[in-house]
């Protein structure tokens, strides 16, 4: 059975953490179509988390077409997450690895890399608006 975790220091709202974990597990293949997600009560007892938060996360997953509730049986993974074909995914990852190696060679540490990505993303977002 899939188990969620919570990082209270991350600053990411708990419901989003749950949604992200499902998305990420789908991308990594840890979750597949047909898998059952734990019941709201199970997640609540496991993480000491507000039940409404779990319900909200599951609604969001349903809204994204990634999960669906079957009455009396629970919530199941119904979709797959493929923002890009496996080939595109592979190519993007390869170019990212090249870039990270360049950054490393230029002496940037992890924090600097993260800051640079955040700045670039922020600028792109503003250009789109």
């Amino acid at each position: 059975m899939f188990r969620f975790r919570l990082d209270s220091a991350s600053g990411v709202p708990p419901y989003l953490q749950l949604v992200h974990q499902v998305r990420q597990s789908l991308l990594l293949g840890y979750l597949r179509e047909g898998d059952r997600l734990p019941t709201v009560k199970d997640v609540v007892s496991d993480l000491a988390i507000n039940p409404n938060t779990v319900v909200k996360a599951y609604r969001q997953l349903e809204h994204e077409g990634l999960a669906g509730g079957k009455p009396g049986q629970g919530t199941f993974i119904t979709g797959t997450l493929s923002p890009a074909t496996p080939d595109t995914h592979h190519a993007l990852r390869a170019s990212l690895e090249r870039w990270l190696r360049d950054a490393d060679a230029a002496g940037l540490n992890d924090d600097e890399v993260t800051a640079l990505i955040a700045v670039a993303r922020n600028d792109m977002r503003k250009e789109k608006v």
Binding site: G11, P13, P51
Partner: protein
Amino acid sequence: MIHDDVVGNAPALRTAGLGRRYGHVWGLRDCTLTVPAGAVVGLVGPNGAGKTTLLQMIIGLLQPTEGQLEVFGETTRANSAKALARVGYVAQDHPLYRDFTVADMFHLGRAMNPSWDQGVATARMDALGIPLKRKIKGLSGGQQAQVSLAMALAKRAPLLALDEPVSSLDPIARLDFMRELMAAAADTGVTVIVASHVVSELERLCDWLIVLTGGRMQLAGPVDDLLAAHRLLTVPRATRDAELPGLAIHRADSDRHSTVLVRIDPARLAAQERREWGVEPVGFEQLVLAYLQRPSGASTDNPAQAAARPGPATKEVTR
């Protein structure tokens, strides 16, 4: 919300201009809020901010000096049997009779509460491995807290108020307590109000937030709405508060730049945002700490409550 219609359609709690004075000093003043049924409310504030005053008025132990207070649509009169029956209460120090056994405590609970459900109380003890024959003084602090919680839940009251329930417990006992509390919320849809100092632990528990300082309500509303209504802006140091797209709640100045937690006005943010500004979402703890650090006389209004309710627009009130 999964707990709609648990106790009719009335909100769990509605206050208007609620206040309580002790002699010449106001313990709490001008408290106006509406909490929906099924919410888990975090009540945050420093010592002396009015948390216990608010809780004791809600549970019917303290008569308000002014203003209105309704619990599930009914006006509360302090110390009436009806008011006391509607709210379960877990006090800070878990007051239990030390020489009583757990079974004795439950016997007392049954005698004092017409709606007592003995099955709820004993089932919880079974699940936690706490023997009914054990004396209270032989239990750990965490187990005593669990007995208090079981007794509050066995009342089957639709509202549960907890005053710093875990402040004396170790981290594992805290987590166990919160697990039981949240499981009960999931099972029964009980509305929960929990006062706590431990802001980092409240985030996972509550979907509603009340911040009090100096007897005044600084912030109240659904957590999601409150987070959506604030941003952390990084701006050049010379930027004046008046140039910001909203109300500056907390500002930290560095040599060249300032980070300001702003209650944003979305239209103004869209119109005024400058390229050199950094705009980031705000986290729960960040938001709470910003409001806790505000002087209690600072201007307050209530964007989330106004957004959540149709009706007249919120006034900007200067106090």
